[in-house]
Each structure stands twice: as structure tokens, then as C-alpha cells.
Amino acid sequence: MNWLDQIFVTSGHQLVSLAPASLQPAASVLLTIAAIMAVCGGCFALTTIIERKGLGRIQNRRGPNRVGPCGLFQPLADGLKMLTKEDIVPSSADKAAHFLAPIILTVPIWLTFSLLPFGRNMAALNLDSGVLFFFALGSATELAVFMAGWSSQNKYSVLGAMRAIAQMISYEVPLALATVPVLMLAGSLSLVDIVQAQGGYALGFVPRWNVLTPWGLVGFGLFLTAATAESNRSPFDLPEGESELIAGYLTEYSGFKYALFFLGEYLGLFAVSGLGVTLFLGGWRAPLPILEWAPSWFWFGGKFSALIFVFIWARGTLPRLRLDQLLNLAWKFLVPMALINMLAAAIWHLSPQWGGVFTSPPMRWLLTAAMLVFPYVWLGRAVNPRAGAKREYAYAE
């Protein structure tokens, strides 16, 4: 089934060969850009409706179901509404910064999609330091958030922007630290190499994905938490908290610029989901040897959709964190956990060389699991003193 696996690559090459020889590099670049924009734009439209219906079902109601069968044309209606809304700019706003902020937010996120390996041989750019690039582009979006908040000349906007930036800066550190064990054990910063390093099967049927190791599981949990906070999604959506700050740094935006912010937030979610799939869930690799006939991009898409579902599930289930709780979680729980995770991953990797009782897997698993579980419980109790206590309910008499 190799032709199905490489169908996008071969059809891309054939389309590019139709162009004259001198323009072929430019044509290949434009084709890649168009493909990424089409796929991610389509995913964005689908995710808006799936999220609203999913949240609706979690909250015991149906989501939008009037536009089209089961509400599937709702994104079209939303898009039309956003495009035709009046674009209001406050008279005392800083016009240049107000205009540029949504653009500076979305452009770096589009750039990150060029690094993800969507399938075998399907990474647009195989950079040698791909993961570092990813984080660099993620940190470039913080400046756009500040521009959005400050240029509106609105106290609530500035307050929301400051909170959003504090949150994003605080959660960048656990995000990067959680990926360091993966880089250590794969030996490379290139995303294609990291997927390569997760090949093979242990015991014949268990895939060697990073998430199926003790340090990988903890790392994946840390990564998901930090990624939720980086995209300002619930339970970390204090910057957009409607009950507190109107819409935070988005207060003074309407129409297409608001749609661009919305797009930027969802695209950021897709980017970190793609990164999580690549780093921890084995990228485009199949879960069992007998399932390897399915194309690689199918597995990537499946795992990616599962992660998006987990994010929607978390949004519908968990309550919002307060700002001090949020920052405490980042600095006092996630960062120490990530550092201990690094140590556990190193011990996991080097312990077979110690010989003796460590050459077989159970002892390695036990040691690394113990190294990770005890700090988890201890740090959790330190951050939230009521963690292990029995809940007391007070009922009205």
C-alpha cells in the first residue's frame, strides 16, 4: 500500500513538474503552502463546530443544529457573519499596532506547520533544530498579544493582555522542559528524526512510542497541561474570562480581526497538538504491526484528532483556574516535575548499562516510576494543601 502512503508526495511532484523548469522551486514551495493552508483552514472550520457540539453534549444539550444537517454548515454561517460585521476601531486606539496585532499573532503559527511531519516524507521543512524553531515561533506570538491589549487603550484590555503574557511566559518553561527528555533520548532536535527514533515494537506488539514509558507518560501530561495554558484554553482561559474582563485583550476587536484572533488561537492548538503527537505519540507510526497497511498520514490524523478531542473534553469538564493558582501550578509544580522527569528519563536510558538487576525492564520501570510518583504526590500536596483530604460538604438545614 505504499502508493497510498505517498500519494500526496507523488501527486505533488507531478503537479510541480508541470511548471517550467526555472519556476519549479517556487512552484513546489507555493504548492506546499497552499496545501497546508487548505488542510489547516478546513480543520479549523470543522473544529469550531465539533467543539460547540461536543461542549453542548457534555453540558447535556445539543450544540448548533439548525444550519445544515446536524449543524455542519455552522462554520460557513459564522464565517459570513464575521466577514460582514462592521470593523470598529476605537478613536483613541493606536491604529498601526491595532491593525498589525492579529497578523503578527497568526503568521508565526502558520510557519510552525511547515515543521510538522504529517506522514512519511511529508514534513515541509526538515530543519536541524526544528523543535527550537517551534518554541521560538510560539514565543513570538506573545508580542502580538501585548500589542492587541495595549493598542486598544482600554484598561480591561491592558489588564487582560498582562495576564495573558504572564501566563504564556510562565508556561513556556514547563513546555520546553517537558520536551527535553524526548530530545535527549532521540539525540536530535529534528522532528523527522524524533519520529524515526520511535520505531520498532517491544515484545512484538507494543510500539516504542515515548508515551508508553514512565518518563514519557509524565512528560506527555506536563506537555498537555502547558500546551493548554499556552493556547489560553480552559481551564487556563483567565485572559479571556468573560465574567471578569469582558473579553480581555480582545475587547476592542470586531469583525474580521476578531476572526483572525480566533483562528490564531485554534491554529496554535493544532500546532501544539501536532507537536505532541510527533514527540510523544509516535508521529505517523502505526500502533500495531498488523495495522501498518494503513497510510502514515491516516495515523497522524487519527492521533491528532484524539488530542483535539482531549482538549475539548478538558474545556467542558474542568473549572477555570484563578491567576495565582495558575502561576503557582506552573512554577511550583510543573517546573520541578519536569526537572525530575529529565532525571528519570536519563536514568531510564542509562540503567541497562549498569548491569545486574537493571538489564531487565521491570526494575527500570519500578525505579523510574518511583522517582516520578513520590515527587508528584509531594509537590501536589505542597501546591494544594487540601489535596488528599476527604471533601466536606455543608448542606443547608
Binding site: 498601526a96 533544530s129 527550537l132 521560538a136 508580542l143 498582562m162 536530535s188
Partner: protein
Amino acid sequence: MPNNIPFYLAAAVTLGGAIAAMSLRNLVHCALCAAGAFAGLGAIYLQLGAEFVAAAQVLVYVGAIAMLIVFAILLTRGGKVKLTARQTAPNRFVGFLIVLLVCASLAGSILRSPSLQARTLALPEVTAPAQRIGENLMTAYVLPLETVGLLLTAAMLGAVVLAIREEPEARLRSEPTAQRRQALEEANIS
């Protein structure tokens, strides 16, 4: 010539951003243009084949230092500079002349050096793989690495100590102690 277009674009963004950062009146605009200049420089590093340095430049300069500058502007209310205040030093024409002299001497020496004119970009393509950088950091440059770690810790502690608020202590010292408060209340009642 077509190969040079990315370089000219990146150089234009960098120099344009730098000149805007140093000449605009609004402080936040200056900071944002400086961030643009840093990003343009990252693009130039990419063209020179130093991928790791380009990513580090964007991460550190645009993502951290520009944010620091912007926060400092907000905390010092720099956004509302009086429009009539003079922006540059009184003897600015002499200053500009000196700067032009510096630029001219640097550019002149670059353009006249024969060994520099004879060089070309090293071929075959030179790369700086991250693995080699890591190996270098852990073997040949391990002492600078540890020193930079110490320096960053000292800088962080120093910045916190310098910028921390002192008001709670001052309030504590100026509040009357419990005995004096009781005495005051008794005096007021009687």
C-alpha cells in the same frame, strides 16, 4: 541577483526597524520596531546557515528581551511622553556627524580590505548541526557554559532585588504599635 533578494529584504527589515526604533517618538512603537529588527536579523542568520542561532535569536530577543523592554515601558509610564519635550541631546548635530564618521570608517575599511574582497562564502554548504554545538558546549566550552549559568542566576537575583517593592516594610514601620494604639484609643474615649 535573484539569489540575493531574500538577503536584501531581511537587511532592509533589520536596518529599517533599527532606524525606526531609534527615531520614533512613541516609546512602545520604538520597542516594537526594535523587535522587528531582531526578527530580521534572525532571518539573516538563517541565510548564513546558522539555524540554531537564528532560532535562539528569535526566542531570546523577540520572545524575551522585547517583552522585558515593553514591560519596563509600561511600568515606568513611558508611553505618555510629553510631545513638546526634546527627544534628543542638545548637541545632536555633532553627534550625528560622529556617528556618520564611525559608519564611514567601518564601511570604508571593509570595502578596501583585499583579503575580505577575495573571500567567498565557504562552499560546500557549511552547517552548524545542533549536535556539534551540544558537543562543543559540553567539552571545549564547558567552563563558559557554567559561568554563563552562574551569571544568569546572579542577574535574575539582582533584577529581583533591584525591582522589588519596599512599601510593606515602610508601612509596618510607620504603623503605631499595639500599645500606642490602645493608648490613643483611651485618650480618644476619655
